[in-house]
Amino acid sequence: MKEIIKMLVLSLLLFGFSAVILAAEEPDKYPSRPVTLTGAFAAGGSTDLTCRAIASVAPKYFSQPIITMPKPGGAGLVALQNLASAKPDGYTYHLGRPSEMSIAPFIEKVPFDMEKDFIPVGQVAQDRIVFSVYTNSPWKTIEELIGAARKEPEKIKFACSSPTATTRLGLEKFCYEAGIKLACVPFKGGTPAAIAVAGGHIPVLTSTVSEALPHVQRGDLRVLLTCADQRAKEYPDVPTAKEKGFEVNFGIWCTVFARKETPPVILGKFEELLKKAAEDKEFVAAMTKLGSEPGFVSAKDFAEYWVKERRWIGDIVRQVGLSKTP
């Protein structure tokens, strides 16, 4: 209970503080007060832990502290609403994931335009998607699975963490390119989905590298494909989508976003911080522990990639029948 009181007093103090300083802001004095970084998932989840990892290495490279604030709810809309209503002054950022930044706008009614309202500042890490099957299933390679699925469309089931999950869209994109169709069995979260496949109740799994790993090590799952251009270090023998001729280079990225109207000078300063943080030893260790792949991608490179990504996600969402707006 002391903790709560302490937090209350602290936030009151902060509030008073910021009210005084808010009056005037000049880009060359940036940063002159603490910066807020939101995430769209609950405290303690991988997004929140990534936010905290950035905040914990930031003091080495940034003169002001970063305050992390998980804002879960509404498919990420609660957090985005918070960013959209903040001043475009470089003191509020959002650590975005594909689920709310690329997928939700095609599924939910959102009160903002992703391209016109938000701008990427830099990517710091990503999770890789892998497809695996139950050990006792007959398919040893991805080609065998494709062959079986061609014979019986929509008969083979796959498990995923939710109907709108990033991992599901990765698999649906792959199916589209391979010209097959599988039936989706959504679960509440990646771990229950992986357990259902490891127990042999559902044959195919689409998940992150780390969600599949414990079951692969115990011999209950066999990984068939990694959705990337390079092989995952956890599965050096598993071919990539690129090797097999599919264009499914889709990672579950962690990218910081800001209001679009934020002055470029300020965004440049924060991008510099993200670059240094992403290469920091401590940050790399924290991400590796989470099963994520740390690595910096610049705002410019990410923006180019993001446009393409949203184009194909829009197509796939419509095909799968998740879209609300026809």
């Binding site: 405290a43 879960p72 709108t164 357990i195």
Partner: protein, 502 residues
């Protein structure tokens, strides 16, 4: 790793200074909420959950568990000394405990409650340690159809064991199922009953719901009744029960331990029901049932052991299958998820530190509680003298802060206030909130499992009967549903009702 090295590892985690401190802190808070009327363990755990966000998962769960079993110890103190149960599981202790205190035997009553709690608590941890791992290994055989059948069984037992009116329990469970429907549909993502509020897309939060139904409503209810803050005068002597008293209590403690442990595993039973059943059993097997209600030490020893044994048992379905068996476990399920740990079959494999650390912490915590509750009893008695005019506004304030800090959403505060008012009315008319909470948590799990199973079977409901585990559970469920029609069992059920006392 073998069994012994795992236990050893668990103890090495508990004996880290920070965890030792947090275990103590949890037990202390638990005793506190147990002693103070107006806040039970469920609301207290929900309230303190946000403060554990910065801990490691093991430390967080050690703290929260400490509150749970700590409350079972503390609850008996007020029952015996003031005739006010600190929380639901100690209601039955007032019957004989307070009588004993009036006869000047408050010391032995408190003593046997604490020792009985300690013995039963420790025995149930041994049970948890041996039963949970094999069950978790077997759990991979549980797919969606098996989970569906388990949920059906759980909801059936929940109604069957509910204290008070069965119709009212059914109504509360149905209401819980309906509230559980709010949010985005798990297959098609269509919004159900969200009223266009984005925060409701993920459903009603468990924490504001619990804090409203258990915390706010309890305070509102207590403001209404004029509670006499009269505490037994005079010094409490002879905390250590004598040989004669031990002789009378030994068997009730053992029976209470076994009974509580197995009832704890069942969904819906939990500590409160266990203590009632234990009291009924002791009265039945006793050679002098007339003494019950007149200060029989068996009537304190049995129930107080049973409610502590139930805490150990209730962890089994949570840690091995990811199914909460009572409302406290439902909150712990949420707490584990917040800390990135998914409760279920893979928990013991992926987070052995967590499971064994928590188990070891319970051994340590039970010893701490014995010390907290016997030599320091005077301190708790003093605490009972805090005027309610100060206590209740404080609890309300902490609930408001707690509901907000859990997720940084003001909507959750409104939800809590809404359910607080609703809970107040429900309890005034003797509707129990526990079936609502459990159905609220089990309902969505049931729906998911049903729909997943039907996708797997391509629409055929036969999948629930043709799979051996699922079929067995369902047949058992149906038998249980039909059993109240047999007159003999209907008679037996009438032993349980809570209302009997009033």
């Amino acid at each position: 790793m073998d069994f012994y090295s795992l236990i050893f590892q668990g103890f090495s985690i508990v004996f880290q200074p920070i965890n030792l401190f947090l275990c103590f802190f949890g037990c202390l808070m638990g005793t506190l909420v147990g002693v103070l009327p107006g806040l039970g363990p469920t609301a207290a755990i929900a309230l303190l959950l946000p403060t554990t966000f910065h801990f490691t998962p093991v430390s967080a769960i050690i703290t929260l568990c400490g509150i749970y079993y700590g409350a079972m110890y503390g609850g008996s103190t007020t029952s015996i000394l003031v005739n006010i149960p600190g929380e639901a599981a100690s209601v039955v202790t007032t019957l004989d405990g307070y009588k004993m205190a009036q006869d000047g035997r408050a010391g032995p009553a408190l003593g046997i409650a604490a020792f009985g709690s300690y013995i039963a608590g420790t025995l149930s941890i041994v049970g948890l340690m041996f039963l949970a791992p094999p069950l978790a290994r077997a759990a991979l055989a549980f797919g969606p159809p098996e989970y569906f059948s388990l949920m059906c069984l759980g909801l059936t037992i929940l109604i069957y064991l509910a204290s008070g009116s069965m119709i009212k329990a059914l109504m509360m469970a149905a209401l819980g199922l309906i509230i559980g429907c709010i949010g985005a549909d798990m297959l098609t993502n269509v919004h159900r009953f969200t009223l266009g509020i984005p925060e409701l897309m993920d459903g009603v939060g468990l924490i504001p719901l619990v804090m409203g139904l258990f915390g706010i409503s309890e305070v509102l209810l207590n403001i209404e009744v004029q509670v006499k803050q009269e505490i037994l005068k005079g010094k409490i002597k002879n905390l250590l029960p004598n040989l004669q008293e031990w002789k009378h209590s030994a068997k009730p403690i053992l029976r209470g331990s076994l009974l509580g442990f197995f009832l704890g595993i069942l969904p819906g039973a939990g500590p409160a029901i266990s203590s009632f059943v234990s009291y009924a059993v002791e009265k039945r097997v006793s050679r002098h049932p007339g003494k019950f209600g007149q200060g029989a030490i068996e009537g304190v020893a049995g129930p107080e052991s049973a409610n502590n044994a139930a805490t150990g048992g209730s962890f089994i379905p949570l840690f091995s299958l990811g199914i909460p068996s009572n409302s406290v476990m439902a909150i712990l399920l949420g707490a584990l998820m917040i800390h990135g740990v998914i409760p279920g079959p893979s928990l013991m494999q992926q987070n052995p530190d967590l499971f064994w650390g928590v188990v070891a912490s319970m051994y340590v915590g039970n010893i701490m509680l014995l010390v907290l509750n016997l030599p320091l009893i005077g301190l708790w008695v003093k605490l009972l003298r805090v005027p309610y005019a100060i206590l209740f506004p404080l609890i309300l304030l902490f609930c408001l802060i707690g509901a907000y800090t859990a997720s940084n959403k003001i909507v959750d505060v409104y939800i809590m206030i809404f359910f607080g008012l609703m809970g107040y009315l429900l309890r005034k008319y003797r509707y129990e909130a526990a079936p609502l909470i459990l159905a609220f948590v089990l309902g969505p799990m049931l729906e998911d499992a049903l729909r997943q199973s039907l996708i797997i079977s391509e629409g055929s409901p036969m999948i629930f009967f043709t799979r051996p585990i699922s079929g067995t559970i369902l047949v058992f469920t149906i038998l249980l549903l039909l059993s109240p029609m047999l007159p003999k069992i209907r008679e037996r059920r009438q032993v349980l009702p809570l209302d009997k006392k009033n």
